[in-house]
């Protein structure tokens, strides 16, 4: 199975779901599950094949598309892209399982869902800047629909804010890409070609921040992060999982694999600024999470904090830093998916509240022990305890920082401790409340269903696998980092 199966299965699945007659609407979830499983298996198979044959040429596929402008339908997947494809596949499967009981317009729901997945696969696979941009745009509309139709809390506002930010950032990206295209001679949109062209330092100095910011907004860089918590909270569970789990990664991926290689000199000039913003994001996100009353808002702000680590790794731009950034993308994708799945689907569907104080009355630790255990593990993973994926990522980023910005390391330490504090606070309040003996008995809640248990187990198993045995992931990521795209960046003093 080539990596192209990921992309095609998602779009084919979306098409099939749409073609389904109305009376068979209930079957759409099976199609969605099958399509996302095919994608995940194809990604896993491609990862394994790459691990077995690391020296061979990476998979690649090219067809002319708009030859007049030098635009090709060019897909390729090195190890780095493969790990992100696998992440997308896993989160997609878990997302479908967590949406098993969607009753309202399931065909449209799963069609939008699969379209987002397909767009995300497309971005990770594209080696043509124009194609990458198109796939990036494909994600925006279904994102809006999912939130505006199936969302909750303040959904119109959340959907509109998120879409406005996305469109604004796309505009910046388009400007950046067109500048690079024109300055490189206007012959090709191929990313490798654009990266090998020489741009004047003065051009890089203003073009880099435009392109980088376009991507970084989607990665939740402070102070342009506000769309993230609002959007995540308003979104239905599966969409929150996708948004936090993979869509934010698109921004980080673009910043890492497009913005940096295109304008390395501009990056070098702006490096300290990016590092500063990222550190603020880490600490600010964690502090804000500490003050939230809504469980989903806690997770939303924790995403801002965790994505700060990704940006920090990118800002450090050493081998450890970049490796850590990608590891953190994967780790956060899994963990955010898990946290949103439990908070949004498992808990909210049963209690109809996400307010941390109101949840105390449910005494979830006794009435829903499975969810309490799962959330405890997810919390441990989220605060970067060793043994879970977050730890591997955070130490890699920390080593990268020691290399480039040793003065920022104490801020990271503070960020980790505050993350511990807010995670525990949320865990306490939501799942292990202190109840007086006289309080009314909590209402009984339905036990976990099989789709929920499978999704939770899948995500926890992946986080543990990455945390306990990161070697294969690191090998794959290093394969990507050896690409000529990163030569200039990594050879900086």
């Amino acid at each position: 199975m080539t990596p192209a199966w990921t992309l095609s299965s998602a779009f084919l699945g979306a098409l099939l779901v749409l073609l389904l007659p109305v009376r068979m609407a209930a079957a759409s979830r099976f199609i969605a599950l099958a399509a996302s499983l095919v994608g995940a298996v194809a990604a896993a198979a491609a990862c394994l094949a790459r691990l077995n044959n690391p020296a061979g040429p990476a998979w690649s596929f090219t067809r002319p598309w708009l030859p007049t402008f030098g635009i090709n339908f060019h897909l390729a997947a090195d190890g780095l892209a493969l790990t992100l494809l696998l992440l997308t596949g896993i989160v997609a499967v878990a997302g479908v399982l967590f949406s098993w009981n969607v009753e309202r317009r399931p065909r449209a729901f799963f069609a939008f869902f699969l379209t987002i997945i397909g767009g995300v696969y497309g971005v990770f696979l594209s080696r043509d800047a124009f194609l990458l941009f198109v796939c990036y745009e494909i994600v925006i509309l279904p994102k809006y629909m999912l939130i505006a139709i199936w969302g909750s809390t303040n959904k119109e506002y959340g959907a509109m804010k998120l879409t406005m930010y996305s469109i604004g950032s796309s505009a910046l990206i388009l400007i950046g890409l067109v500048v690079a295209y024109a300055a490189a001679g206007g012959t090709s949109f191929d990313i490798n070609y654009l990266a090998s062209a020489h741009y004047a330092p003065s051009l890089q100095l203003w073009a880099f921040p435009i392109l980088f910011l376009g991507f970084a907004v989607l990665a939740g860089i402070w102070p342009f992060h506000t769309w993230a918590p609002t959007g995540h909270v308003a979104a239905p569970t599966a969409a929150s999982m996708l948004l936090a789990g993979v869509v934010m990664k698109l921004g980080a991926y673009g910043a890492l694999c497009v913005a940096l290689p295109l304008f390395p000199l501009g990056f070098a000039a702006w490096q300290p600024v990016i590092a500063g913003l990222a550190v603020i994001g880490v600490v600010y996100g964690a502090l804000t999470a500490l003050a939230q009353k809504d469980l989903k808002f806690v997770i939303g702000y924790s995403s801002v904090s965790h994505m700060g680590f990704v940006l920090l790794g990118i800002a450090a731009a050493t081998h450890w830093g970049l490796r850590g950034a990608v590891l953190q993308m994967i780790s956060h994708g899994i963990i955010a998916g898990l946290l949103f799945g439990i908070a949004g689907r498992v808990v909210y569907e049963r209690t109809h509240t996400r307010d941390l104080n109101a949840l105390q009355a449910f005494d979830l630790w006794r009435t829903l022990p499975g969810a309490a255990v799962a959330f405890t593990l997810a919390t441990a993973a989220s605060m970067g305890l060793p043994g879970f994926s977050g730890f591997v990522a955070e130490i890699s980023v920390a080593i990268g920082l020691w290399q480039k910005f040793p003065w920022l390391v104490p801020a990271i330490a503070a960020g980790i401790v505050i993350t511990g504090a807010f995670s525990l606070r949320a865990l306490h309040k939501a799942f292990f409340p202190v109840r007086s003996a006289s309080a009314a008995a909590p209402p009984p809640l339905a036990p976990l269903t099989w789709p929920e248990i499978s999704a939770i187990s899948l995500l926890i198993a992946v986080s543990l696998a990455l945390g306990i045995y990161p070697k294969p992931w690191v090998v794959l990521i290093d394969d990507g980092l050896r690409s000529p795209l990163f030569h200039t960046i990594l050879s900086q003093p």
């Binding site: 060793p386 020691w402 606070r425 292990f432």
Partner: protein
């Protein structure tokens, strides 16, 4: 493989207890007790098949983690590890048995204790920072939940404070080791020790952190301080003990045994096996500070214990005092490691003191648990009186534990403290002399405890109390045996560590 099975065995038990559908509360705790015997069998097998390898390693296991950075999940057990593993298995088993006797907990409780046992095994055998830290931090979640969910009224606050402070210490330690990884490309304890012996850590740090413009020696000192912070919080060393009194007092008594008997030993083990090995270059400079902290820990721990009215808090502070002696010995070794006889005495003392303190503290906390169960939750020193008449057997056994704790010759507490002072007097005479005051204060508050609880008029409410039941007596038997036998015949424990002590001396000997 034997080691891997030891590491995973309790974890497997926890999973079985956790997922077994419809397992009743009583059955869960019986199953957990039975399961907790298994690691002892594995340990026996490990000792039995030991063929006397030159490096003293009983068993080892390793898995590459991030190979190009030389990070492996490497575990190996030598004689010193063996003693700590033995202590872990014994105390865990005892704590589970006491929990069953007091009817505390259920499935989740037993499963969490077993998870913690696995992680402690990992801490006491890891040979590389990453697996060590992995297990080190993973003890936090079970410990936190055990305090939080089964503790007293103030438990949520105490548990949160415990968690956040120890997490902070852990992060400091992590950053310190990551700096070393960056500087010399390894976090393997033995490799770091070899590099340190050849004076290569400081130049490596100076080169990697040229940005800061600091001298290599200063940087290495900073790293050592970061690592020490992580260890000091766990032991705890004054002034990093803020989490301790509440956590120990609010936790259910069997969990307190685990906290003081095992979790605090992680810090002692780290000081001995990691801190001394990796940082010999900067130890002479740090030694005065370490000594001062050790003396403060010994004295303030004892004084605080003297001021307590609550029995649990009193014994908690006395634990601070007792582990202060371990820190004192480490500080003494740090100050001067040329006198081989003194150093080997101090090092052996640290291990014995750690082992014996674990056992004695468990016996004392068990005694307090019995008093609590008889009185319905009272544990003030002034709540009792004259119990010698009503409960002669209990009084005798608890008094034995108390005497062991204050270091009466012939009981196990004496051996460790004797070796520590024997070593420290040759190395840091003045500090050792001041610390002797700690022994005196310990005797004062422990004898006062005996007088107030066992002598004097019997309060009327206690006139009907019965002496120990046979189940309770049987629970006392193993701990009392472990107090008496090593006291009379310390060789039974010392034989495990002689080889390791010599190897540590070789490592500490400065290479010109």
């Amino acid at each position: 493989m034997l080691l891997l099975s030891l590491l995973l065995l309790p974890l497997l038990g926890a999973v079985i207890i956790g997922v077994w559908p419809g397992l009743a509360r009583q059955c869960a705790s019986r199953l957990a007790i039975t399961w907790a015997v298994l690691p002892l069998a594995v340990l026996a097998a490990m000792e039995f098949q030991y063929a006397g390898a030159a490096n003293g390693v009983l068993a080892e296991w390793s898995l590459p983690w991030i190979p190009d950075a030389n990070i492996n999940l490497a575990f190996s057990a030598d004689g010193t590890s063996f003693l700590f593993l033995l202590l872990t298995s014994l105390i865990t088993l005892f704590a589970l048995a006491v929990s069953a006797k007091l009817d505390i907990g259920g499935r989740a409780y037993c499963a969490l204790i077993l998870v913690m046992e696995s992680m402690l095994f990992g801490v006491f055998t890891a040979r590389h920072f990453i697996p060590w830290f992995l297990c080190w931090e993973m003890t936090l979640i079970p410990a936190y939940l055990l305090i939080r969910l089964w503790g007293g009224k103030g438990a949520p606050r105490a548990a949160l404070r415990f968690f956040v402070i120890t997490l902070g210490g852990g992060v400091c330690m992590l950053l310190g080791f990551l700096a070393l990884q960056l500087a010399v490309g390894t976090m393997d304890f033995a490799q770091l020790g070899a590099l340190a012996a050849h004076h290569q850590l400081a130049p490596g740090l100076a080169k990697s952190f040229a940005v800061t413009g600091l001298d290599g020696h200063v940087l290495l000192t900073l790293v050592a301080v970061l690592v020490f912070l992580g260890l000091a919080v766990k032991i705890p060393v004054v002034p990093f003990h803020a989490w301790l009194p509440d956590a120990y007092a609010e936790a259910p008594t069997p969990v307190t045994m685990l906290l003081t008997g095992l979790l605090s030993k992680m810090g002692v083990y780290g000081l001995l096996r990691v801190f001394l090995v990796v940082f010999p270059e900067v130890l002479p400079g740090l030694a005065p500070w370490l000594t001062a902290l050790a003396v403060a820990t010994v004295l303030l721990g004892a004084m605080a214990a003297l001021a307590q009215k609550d029995l649990k808090r009193m014994i908690a502070y006395s634990s601070v005092n007792h582990l202060g002696y371990c820190v004192l010995a480490v500080a003494a070794v740090a100050a001067m490691h040329s006198d081989r006889a003194a150093v080997s005495s101090a090092v052996a003392g640290v291990v014995l003191q750690a082992f014996n303190h674990g056992v004695i503290a468990s016996a004392l906390f068990f005694s307090i648990a019995i008093l609590e169960s008889r009185s319905g939750g009272l544990r003030g020193v002034n709540d009792f009186g004259g119990l010698r008449a009503r409960m002669p057997v209990f009084s005798g056994l608890m008094a034995l534990a108390v005497f062991a704790s204050l270091g009466l010759p012939g009981l196990s507490g004496f051996v460790g403290e004797f070796l520590i002072f024997n070593g420290s007097f040759g190395l840091v005479p003045w500090s050792a002399a001041i610390s002797l005051l700690g022994l005196l204060l310990t005797a004062v508050f422990l004898l006062r405890l005996i007088r107030l609880v066992f002598h004097g008029p019997l309060p009327p409410a206690m006139a009907k109390w019965s002496d120990l039941t046979s189940a309770e007596r049987w629970l006392f038997v193993p701990v009392i045996a472990l107090i008496v036998i090593p006291g009379l015949w310390p060789q039974v424990l010392l034989q495990f560590i002689n080889g390791d002590t010599l190897r540590l001396l070789e490592l500490l000997r400065p290479i010109p």
